[in-house]
């Protein structure tokens, strides 16, 4: 007969060779490899202080005939620790889901049983096909002051454990993050970024259960975030961006009245609009070439030297008075 035998890590295991007498001559194998006689006590196989590596197929053969007399699959593992359970409603007011996992593996199969009680009423938590450690419940009532009590029991061949969560309907509401976050520069506005997003698709009725949003943004070169809370709408214009700096932007959502904030959305990057670099005309190119070997004075795009009203020239090269004078000074120095 072949069967499965579960043993705890660290246990001492004694295997009998089926119905063979203690003094019968037998040979034991582990995964096809002969086991040294030092592990035998008569025909019994003794494994002391077993560890995970000793899991496998153990077979016992009659000494002379090599008839298979006994076979077992040894699985070394541990009883379950207290499971970790989480319940959340990301689709309020439809229902909520609970998911769980074990803090450490047991190395042997486990079964999970979940019970949900609302007052005196037992509710059915329907298990999801994927992922397997999750089930969902439909709210049968809304606005109840009676708490929900969820108990998860995990059982395996070596023991069992459980955990319980008790909560109010409104306390576990946490939407999924906003979707499709887009950030775009605003033409001719070097300090603005236009951000838009959508309600999470899992939130079933944003009209009756509106969400509010939290937007955070910072230039990549800084660590400190700016925050804006928005009570309605799915767009916002940032008006204090540092010109020319790349920004990272994220959005979170919360039901307007209850629950907690979602996780942050996927981050998007954007840089505010900047004026395109101007191409130089012939005269200015000469000036530029002459002075280029020593130093060139060209204002960085974000630095404003003069107003557009003080520009000379036109088209691709419009140089303002101040810059023109400085460039001329340099060129004179190096002629």
């Amino acid at each position: 007969d072949s069967h499965i035998q579960y043993e705890r890590v660290g246990a001492d295991v004694t295997m009998k060779c089926g119905s063979m007498d203690w003094d019968a001559a037998v040979t034991w194998t582990a995964n096809g490899t002969d086991i040294d006689e030092s592990h035998l006590n008569g025909s019994y196989l003794i494994l002391k202080n077993v560890d995970l590596s000793q899991s496998g197929q153990y077979s016992c053969y009659e000494g002379s005939s090599w008839h298979l007399k006994y076979q077992t699959y040894l699985r070394v593992g541990t009883p379950p620790k207290e499971p970790v359970l989480m319940c959340r409603s990301n689709n309020y007011p439809k229902g909520f889901y609970c998911s769980w996992h074990l803090p450490t593996p047991t190395y042997i199969p486990n079964s999970f049983n979940i019970s949900v009680i609302h007052g005196t009423k037992d509710m059915v938590c329907e298990k999801d096909a994927v992922p397997k450690n999750r089930c969902h419940i439909r709210y049968l009532q809304l606005f109840s002051t009676v708490k929900y009590k969820v108990t998860l029991t995990v059982t395996n061949a070596l023991g069992k454990n459980f955990t319980t969560l008790t909560f109010d309907e409104f306390a576990i509401v946490k939407p999924d993050p906003p979707e499709s976050v887009v950030a775009k520069p605003v033409p001719n506005n070097p300090r603005r970024l236009e951000v838009s997003w959508q309600n999470p698709s899992s939130w079933p009725d944003p009209e009756s259960f509106p969400l509010k949003f939290f937007l955070r943004y910072r230039p990549l070169i800084l660590d400190q975030w700016q925050h804006v809370e928005l009570s309605d709408g799915t767009s916002h214009t940032i008006t204090d961006a540092y010109a020319g700096k790349e920004y990272i932007i994220q959005v979170a959502a919360k039901d307007n009245d209850i629950g907690t904030w979602s996780d942050w959305s996927v981050a998007v990057h954007a840089t505010p609009w900047t004026e395109e670099p101007k191409h130089l005309t012939t005269e200015a190119q000469i000036t530029e070439t002459t002075s280029a070997s020593t130093s060139s004075f060209m204002a960085p795009p974000t630095t404003k030297i003069c107003d557009k009203g003080a520009m000379v020239g036109s088209g691709a090269m419009a140089v303002c008075w101040t810059a023109g004078l400085v460039m001329a000074a340099y060129s004179v120095l190096f002629i």
Partner: protein
């Protein structure tokens, strides 16, 4: 009804709903603060379960999304009328216990009572807009309770405030449903009766 569906009535309805949502939102915030103060000053455990007490309207509802507009208004009105009487009783009990209205808790109760009364009136306005008759108030309030010990009074007060907080939340949701534009057909549970 033709009058209730006129453009001006629709605007008035939306305006009343918006104001009602703000009223209910403020009321809920104040009730939540009052609940915290009540638990602390009455020496109660915030997580204590309180059995449903007769006369306290339960906010819990099944098939909430299927209710008609009129059902929502009538149930809300009945609830806030009951809370008006319950809060008045709690204030009276406070006076009896302390000889005068406690500065903190008593003022908090009185402020919430005022908001509950105002909200009840607001609901009556919405019902009038729909040319619905305003149901008469039953008797003089909740039935007189058997004599409760001081601790039982405190627990009942906890139950009243908890349900009121949930009702305020439900009212916000109900008014948002009411504020939705009614479709042309009469089948939707907006303010028109469902078939």
């Amino acid at each position: 009804m033709a009058a209730a569906d006129s453009p001006s009535a629709a605007l008035r309805r939306r305006d009343l709903c918006s104001r009602g949502i703000r009223l209910a939102g403020k009321m809920r915030a104040d009730v939540v603060d009052l609940l915290d103060a009540y638990v602390e000053q009455q020496g109660l455990d915030a997580s204590a379960s309180v059995a449903a007490v007769e006369g306290v309207p339960l906010a819990a509802v099944e098939r909430w999304d299927e209710q008609t507009g009129t059902q929502r208004l009538l149930e809300n009105l009945a609830a806030y009328r009951a809370f008006r009487a319950l809060l008045a009783q709690m204030l009276e009990e406070q006076r009896e216990q302390l000889g005068e209205v406690d500065a903190g808790l008593g003022h908090g109760l009185a402020a919430v009572l005022l908001q509950v009364s105002a909200f009840a009136y607001h609901l009556e306005e919405l019902l009038r807009l729909e040319s619905r008759g305003i149901p008469g108030e039953e008797g003089d309030g909740p039935p007189p309770l058997p004599h409760l010990s001081l601790f039982e009074q405190k627990l009942r007060g906890l139950g009243v405030l908890r349900e009121l907080a949930q009702w305020a939340l439900r009212s916000v949701r109900d008014l948002r449903q009411l504020a939705k534009p009614s479709p042309a057909t009469s089948g939707a549970p907006g303010l028109a009766e469902s078939p």
